[in-house]
């Protein structure tokens, strides 16, 4: 288990972390999710000991690590740009931590082979990092981090430099790996889909503070702030409330709680249809309906429809500064 208490970190006038506290349960796969500059990487680096907080405490497995240097924290760290040792072969890269620990040669050899098997790089022992693809380099970096049997595994945007399809594949692979080797893992990402897909707990960060922590579904269905709601999925504003576009219901007839709106544009996006609407007061709102619904309503530009939240829709009162919302995808 990792517990962080009251950690503050300033870089000059910029406050990267402001009195942050977080508990990461033993054996969990947790994500730190937030936009760039939210402090998520700084928090991870402070847990690793690569940075030190100005204030606060870091405990790993109940032992205070605040003043312990990175090399003695028994952690595994994976960097966004792999940090492969370029002058060493794959085998030497993975063996590095074990050599530092002066383990017997035989043990190192068998452990390296075992790890290369786990990460799917058997047969690549004698290659150099420059001869590997980005995905392979990152898997090598993971094997290198796991070789020393770390108490916690920390990944800083590990798939950030990879192509979308490789990223999706490695994500599934990491999830599976975590089931096989259930070491407490923290992954930093700015991609909400990645966090929801991979982690069993997500901490959403913004401006150096943690906004909300919980299982992905709980965050999506019960966001406690408009920031969290906006960061985890698209939102639109209706009648002073934030609501998700797919939680809006369109009808030809008037309905309680619904507002009259004119269809400004209908965009077909495969299985879903995005409908841009203009309300009577001039406000714009976007709804997302299925193809079937759009066809049943026979939506055309200029039509007048009634738009209101579905029953059970997630709604939050819109804050005054709602225009600052990070409207993601």
């Amino acid at each position: 288990m990792i517990s962080v208490t009251g950690v503050t970190k300033r870089f000059g006038a910029f406050t990267a972390l402001n009195d942050v506290s977080l508990e990461v349960p033993e054996g969990s796969l947790s994500a730190l999710l937030g936009p760039s500059g939210s402090g998520k990487s700084t928090l991870l680096r402070i847990i690793a000991g690569l940075d030190t907080g100005d204030r606060g405490q870091v405990l790993i497995g109940g032992v205070d690590q605040t003043l312990v240097p990175a090399r003695k924290r028994e952690i595994g760290f994976v960097f966004q740009h792999y940090a492969a040792f370029k002058h060493m072969s794959v085998r030497e890269n993975v063996a590095f931590g074990l050599k530092i620990r002066k383990r017997p040669k035989k043990e190192i050899a068998s452990r390296v082979d075992e790890l290369l098997g786990i990460v799917g790089l058997s047969g690549y022992q004698d290659r150099y990092p420059s001869q590997l693809s980005g995905g392979q380099r990152q898997r090598m970096a993971l094997a290198r981090a796991l070789a020393v049997e770390p108490r916690v595994l920390l990944l800083d945007e590990p798939f950030g430099a990879l192509d979308a399809n490789v990223r999706a594949e490695l994500r599934r692979w990491l999830r599976k790996l975590h089931e096989e080797v259930p070491v407490t893992t923290v992954i930093v990402t700015h991609d909400q889909e990645e966090a929801m897909d991979i982690a069993d707990r997500v901490a959403v960060m913004s401006h150096g503070t943690i906004e909300q922590v919980g299982p992905p579904r709980e965050l999506y269905e019960q966001p406690t702030s408009d920031f969290v709601m906006g960061f985890l999925g698209p939102v639109t504003e209706l009648g002073g409330h934030l609501v998700r576009p797919h939680d809006l219901h369109l009808s030809v007839d008037a309905r309680e709680g619904a507002a009259e709106a004119m269809v400004a544009r209908v965009t077909h996006l495969g299985f879903e249809v995005r409908v841009d609407l203009v309300l009577a007061d001039g406000g714009a709102i976007g709804a997302q309906v299925t193809r079937g619904e759009a066809e049943a309503l026979e939506l055309r530009e200029g039509d007048v429809v009634w738009v209101g939240p579905d029953r059970g829709a997630v709604q939050l009162p819109a804050a005054a500064g709602a225009d600052e919302l990070p409207l993601s995808a």
């Binding site: 040792f85 370029k86 420059s130």
Partner: protein, 268 residues
Amino acid sequence: MSSERVTRIGLRTVALGYLFALLFVPVGIVLYKTFEPGLGNVWASITTPAAIHAFWLTIMVTAIAVPLNTALGILAALVLVRGRIRGKPLLDALIDLPFAVSPIVVGLSLVLVYGANGWFGGVLTSAGIQVIFSWPGIVLATIFVTLPFVVREVAPVLREVGDEQEQAAATLGASRRQTFLRITLPAIRWGIAYGVVLSTARAIGEFGAVSVVSGRISGQTETLTLLVQKRFENFDLAGAYAASALLAMIAMTTLLALTVIKPRKEHE
């Protein structure tokens, strides 16, 4: 012929012609003139006691100055790139000073500081140490003029490799020393190698500063470059060419050594 082709061939001709006129012709003529009188004469003129002494003095000075500057250069590059100290721009500018200052000025300033009437002159004389008009002065002058090479070769490489590999090594349990020896040093080794080759070439070839501090005492403080100059002034052209060829040979051996130790394919 297309105009593009004409341009290309024209540019190549200019580039090769430039190299030929300024590099190959003079070096070629030196070698030709050296061996024109015959091998026996060449051998005789580079095995005179003065020449042998000059050769070994040059080698000794280089063997002291280059390793010292290599170690200090790596350290300075680390401070410049990785250090968190104030006054880095000042240090950065200071390191280039030997490039900016004329070697003659370097020599004169060394005389002013370490000479018999210089700042430390009294202290050194009473301690029985002679710096100026002796080999320690030559070593000091050589260290001064070759100071920037290793730093200037290593610093950009350090900047380029970044410190992520070092951080990774730390998370894997490596101490600072282990990280330096196993990660940093191998990453910058070619920068160091080029710095060493350049320093060596400059150390062997230095004339101005050495000429001022050495006193040019034949058989005592005369380096190879000084010997070439003396022979040239004394109208011993064949002897001057022979010594020049020897200088060129040492320089080429250094370059050759680099080419040999550098593997054909770099895994980077």
